[in-house]
Symmetry: C2
Subunit: 437 residues, 2 copies
């Protein structure tokens, strides 16, 4: 396994597509992230008909469904792309993922003999609409950021008991709600929920007042499994990674989460980015996990896994105001890799399926400016954050737009993830047409 | 709404199908539960080809796919049954469910003029294999049995703090794992997991030693929703009910569940019965919820919901030994109805989808013989249960077969749910082919 932290050993792979060879382009030939698009940026969101799989290159997206129909993917099983989702390719063996990537590289590399056949299938990214890139089977959210867990634990239980006793032994996670996963650009509605203030005796049903973001990275399960898998086997099952914002209602969670965990606090929406960056594209950026404080049990050990050196940032823009970057952190801060999370997930015999989405947990760094949630940035609301325009925030306000970005920096090239954006709409006046009682 | 507790007001509806009119038959014309079958009881489980939707009547199952192809379902949208799952019908409006039921009743009622066209589509239940009756979208498990929550809370936190502070206000639930849901008759493997005994400093990875059942009823969501729904609207979304055994590893749960809830403890398997009994068939058995100790918030109130008078029982048979009924209880013990659970589930805006499965939570009655889990029956393992054959149990032993049954008793007829059965296989010697470390 390549253990480099700066993409060294891999240089920019040049493409004939205009704009793909710039050092700061998000989508060079090295990247080839997987999305779903429909031509016409202003098209209706609900129009399924025009959707098809695409791969971003330069400032364009290559219509992979058309490329397949045109016979340009010879040597691969077919059809893989007659549906607007990457699940069919994802469900196959990693060797097929590699063949697909090699084939695309051959088509798009500088000097390719197929330029003339490929070029008609390129669309300008500015002219398309992006959709959920895969059918999300089930969604699991983990809690693998040590600084995040420590910060939250300190606020709620004090510094001595910050990390739960199991945290250094188990990649703690809970099952989330796949139906609530939306793609970047989808507005999110402030939820109503059952809340209880410490100074009230009884709970009330009202709009959340402590609505927050969680800066995460999602791992996308490709190959399925039917029983326990080792960490190395789990690593091979992961098709790629995607930006993820797990919107969280802290006040709903505080009242509901004992004894069975977060439920409606996390069910309004989880926004993911439009592009799955494949594990193959990220391999040069693999780094070692932070040192273990206690030895891990054998079922959580492996040889070929770990997080990546991916810079992450999140910005907040109040309505009509320029965005302020509120946190910068790095994927390498994770204490558990996605492969460890997946191996733990399957350890009871739980079948894992193509399209399962595993949230990393909030990724915070050791410094205050590296905290991936407003809960941490405002220290539970006690230390309001001042934005560039002068406004301050403890939790999100209506109209706020959050945008997550990620990039891995190689030798003369960048691997981008696109953007993961969502605007918070005000709560409904009353969420029910009629309440009979 | 009919508020009867004994099915009065509805009498046996007579059918021309042999065996359907006996007072203790599980599948009279009043019932018409929905399943999926394949002809040939010994057929391979993985053979998808022969599967088709069926409705149980007497000791037979009516091939609904064939009935539809034969043009006997005129007036209904079509095709509804070209796939081996009930999801398409379930996704439609309740008025279509009612039309479908009326049409089947007309075909199967004594005096029907269609006997000769229908009869060729009947198969003996003893000659078919039963499969999962619907595609499970997502699975949520609730905690709505007050006696169960009190028992468990007393064991873990003492009698004074038995019920968590939120329990009387919120239908507490957590997201489970749909991929682990299996149909009655599927063997279940004792899981490995990360455990920590109170007398050990460090956890170990080993087979669960406190593996248990949970006697539950599942509610099957039919019509989908995209935002909050009132309790009455939620009630209308529920297509039917099914037996459910939520296998639970108590020792895995004890170590993992703080702070984010049960995860691998509940992920090995959840067994459901083969028959969805429709809400329409159960309507005569509706009962009122137990009295509220504290008033519920308006979003959890409704006019047309509540549990049913359904007798439940579970038996345990050690390998090669006759079964002992270990608990008898009733669906009416639930403190929250499925409609309240569904309304709470959607309250944050969480989209609910056709095929979502909502486990009720373990249903225990007030008496010791009415406890729906071994955790409660053996009081945490301290009071072993003696079986009829002389063996004793605290938790499950390898080779044990658990069978759940349910029935609602009307005037001269019974609504049965079939059986929900699973045999516990021993843990694998080592769940991994190779562990590199």
């Amino acid at each position: 396994m390549t253990m480099t932290s700066d993409g060294s050993g891999t240089n920019l792979l040049k493409s004939w597509v205009v704009g793909a060879n710039e050092a700061d382009a998000s989508f060079p030939l090295n990247n080839l992230p997987c999305g779903v698009f429909s031509p016409g940026a202003a098209g209706p969101k609900s129009d399924e008909r025009g959707r098809r799989c695409g791969v971003a290159i330069g400032e364009q997206v290559l219509d992979i469904a058309a490329v397949e129909r045109d016979g340009l993917l010879e040597g691969l099983p077919s059809p893989l792309f007659d549906q607007p989702a990457w699940n069919r390719l994802m469900s196959l063996e990693p060797s097929v993922w590699a063949s697909f990537r090699e084939r695309l590289m051959a088509l798009l590399a500088e000097g390719s003999t197929e330029c003339e056949r490929v070029e008609p299938h390129l669309h300008a990214l500015s002219d398309v609409r992006l959709h959920l890139p895969f059918v999300i089977c089930e969604f699991t959210d983990f809690y693998a950021g040590r600084h995040h867990a420590t910060n939250v634990g300190t606020m709620f239980r004090g510094a001595e008991n910050a990390l739960p006793p199991n945290w250094l032994h188990i990649p703690i996670g809970y099952n989330g709600r796949a139906s609530s996963v939306v793609v970047s650009g989808t507005d999110v509605r402030r939820p109503w929920g059952q809340l209880k203030s410490p100074d009230h005796e009884l709970p009330a049903f009202m709009p959340s007042r402590r609505f927050d973001l969680e800066l995460e990275m999602g791992a996308v399960v490709g190959t399925a499994s039917d029983g326990p898998v080792s960490v190395d086997a789990a690593e091979a099952m992961i098709f790629g990674y995607i930006l993820l914002n797990d919107w969280s209602a802290r006040d709903i969670q505080a009242w509901e989460y004992q004894p069975l965990g977060p439920f409606q606090a996390k069910a309004s929406a989880t926004t993911i980015g439009p592009w799955i960056v494949t594990a193959l594209a990220l391999e040069p950026f693999r780094v070692r996990l932070p040192p273990r404080e206690v030895p891990l049990l054998a079922y959580l050990q492996g040889d070929r896994h770990g997080p990546y050196d991916i810079e992450l940032e999140v910005s907040l823009a109040p309505e009509g105001v320029a965005a302020t970057t509120i946190a910068r952190t790095n994927h390498r801060e994770l204490y558990y890799s996605a492969a460890q999370q997946l191996a733990h997930h399957a350890s009871s015999g739980c079948p894992m399926r193509t399209g399962d989405l595993l949230g990393s947990g909030t990724i915070s760094g050791p410094r205050k400016s590296e905290r991936g949630s407003l809960l941490e940035l405002s220290w539970g609301g006690k230390e309001p954050l001042t934005l560039d325009g002068g406004e301050s925030r403890t939790f999100l306000e209506d109209g706020d737009t959050l945008t997550l970005h990620a990039r891995a920096r190689g030798n003369g090239y960048t691997i981008g993830f696109g953007e993961c954006r969502g605007t918070l709409l005000p709560a409904l006046d009353m969420p029910y047409d009629t309440l009979e009682n």
